[in-house]
Symmetry: none
Subunit: 247 residues, 2 copies
DNA sequence: CCCGCGTCTGTGAGAATGCTCAGAGGCATG
DNA sequence: CATGCCTCTGAGCATTCTCACAGACGCGGG
């Protein structure tokens, strides 16, 4: 089998061999959330550290020298923007992904994305954070690997930057949720993903619903992606779903 | 019975010599269950300890420094999640396998497996717990030694991640129970397994049925795995079954 | 060579699991 | 403010799986 960009069996680091693992600092006062994020990021190929307060974050950033920072706007001691400016005083090149409450003033955020940074609103899905962070690094880093944001399984391919999916050259229109689900499947080909795993990654972390929703969206995806073609999405009864090219 | 090494026949702990045995802490208020689990885990190559309460678990974890924790969600004193967060505060990298009642799955599991942790619902089969735990360790452990999840006996091979079985390159479709039975056989090749042993490992621990069910599933497996080929599954009359490559 | 016990397998009922439809509510857009 | 798309819930249906029963088969001992 040809080597794939986004490695088989869950290895996501684009260029493990050539470049060192990118470093990310996760800052959130809700410790469990920070740890979960860090843990997921490590599994995605990052070197991750956590901080629970603004001042810790500044200190940690100075020592750890991260390539990117995931930064909660609402911190007990310092404001997120304040933390950012202090970090930037030392390292102007660091990329930042803000975490904000949905109701929070989005006008303050407005100027941020212009600077190249990005944000997601709480509650978010982990896939969302991963995707945004990868996007940030891809854009800002000296990595000019612009073409890297492309996933392929058989004749199905996804351009993450353009948010575009094609099968056999033909364009497929997907809703936001469908797109995220498909991305998660495509990033973990040839590997069974349980409904719980999918739910945890693709849906917001405080989603209260049941795993039934996964079946529903798998059904939507099949209608659009596998319609009348060789199926790529397979059910493993009692276990989960798997994306696998035809053998 | 002859003295056996830990990873007795088939336990693919190839690196027993190089790496130290992984450490696991088993936490369940049902003492007999905790001890059975620990005992089975030890035979599978782990160093295992037990705790029967949440506070004991936290204390034990701090001292024992396990690589993984098997953690009942329902404990007399502390909640499973509470125990986890206290352990994580001390060691953020520990892997956790939750044990939960089937009814409580839907509402509380969301967010749990997100960090890479996993869960099984009670009642479970011991093989299920072993497999999940090995999976956790494989993933979280030394970066990504992903290729390890493959079992082979003669021309029969099983990819545990993809939940896929092939014989001579040809795919074989198995149900969940058939798959677990075959995995148990393949992990213990060249070794007779009694029906009682198989029942204890592959079926849920509170399964009330008779050993006859094992014969039935061996029969299913033979039809799919050995059909018209050199048989790998052999009956040892009056003793049990054995998986053995043709000599 | 025959008998008895252990093993194998066909049949079918009930349960579990997964798929899809229809519709309500929400959010964004014009 | 109205419209339309998206998300999610609930229910019904179809399929598949699990397991019990019971009779057939065959091995090994006498």
């Amino acid at each position: 089998m040809a080597q794939r960009k986004f490695g088989s069996a869950g290895t996501h680091a684009e260029d493990v061999s050539t470049a060192p693992k990118p470093r990310v600092l996760v800052v959130d006062d809700e410790q469990s959330l920070a740890e979960v994020l860090a843990s997921v990021l490590r599994r995605d190929g990052w070197t991750a550290r956590t901080a629970y307060t603004g001042s810790d974050a500044v200190r940690e950033a100075r020592e750890f020298k991260p390539d990117a920072v995931v930064l909660d706007m609402m911190l007990p001691d310092l404001d997120g923007l304040e933390v950012l400016s202090r970090i930037r005083a030392w390292d102007a090149d660091v990329s930042v992904l803000f975490l904000t409450a949905r109701e929070s003033v989005e006008d303050r955020i407005a100027g941020i994305t212009a600077g190249g940074d990005d944000y997601v609103t709480k509650p978010f899905s982990l896939e969302e954070v991963l995707a945004r962070l990868r996007g940030l690094l891809r854009r800002s880093g000296s990595t000019r690997e612009q073409a890297a944001a492309s996933l392929t399984v058989a004749d199905l391919s996804m351009d993450e930057d353009a948010h575009e999916v094609t099968r056999a050259g033909e364009r497929i229109e997907l809703t936001a949720t469908e797109f995220e689900l498909l991305r998660f499947l495509m990033r973990n080909p040839r590997r069974v993903l349980s409904k719980a795993q999918i739910l945890d990654r693709v849906w917001d972390y405080d989603f209260g619903g049941k795993a039934h929703i996964v079946e529903l969206y798998i059904s939507y995806l099949r209608k659009k992606v596998d319609a009348g073609r060789e199926p790529l999405i397979h059910t493993v009864r009692g276990v989960g779903y798997i994306m696998r090219p035809p053998s």
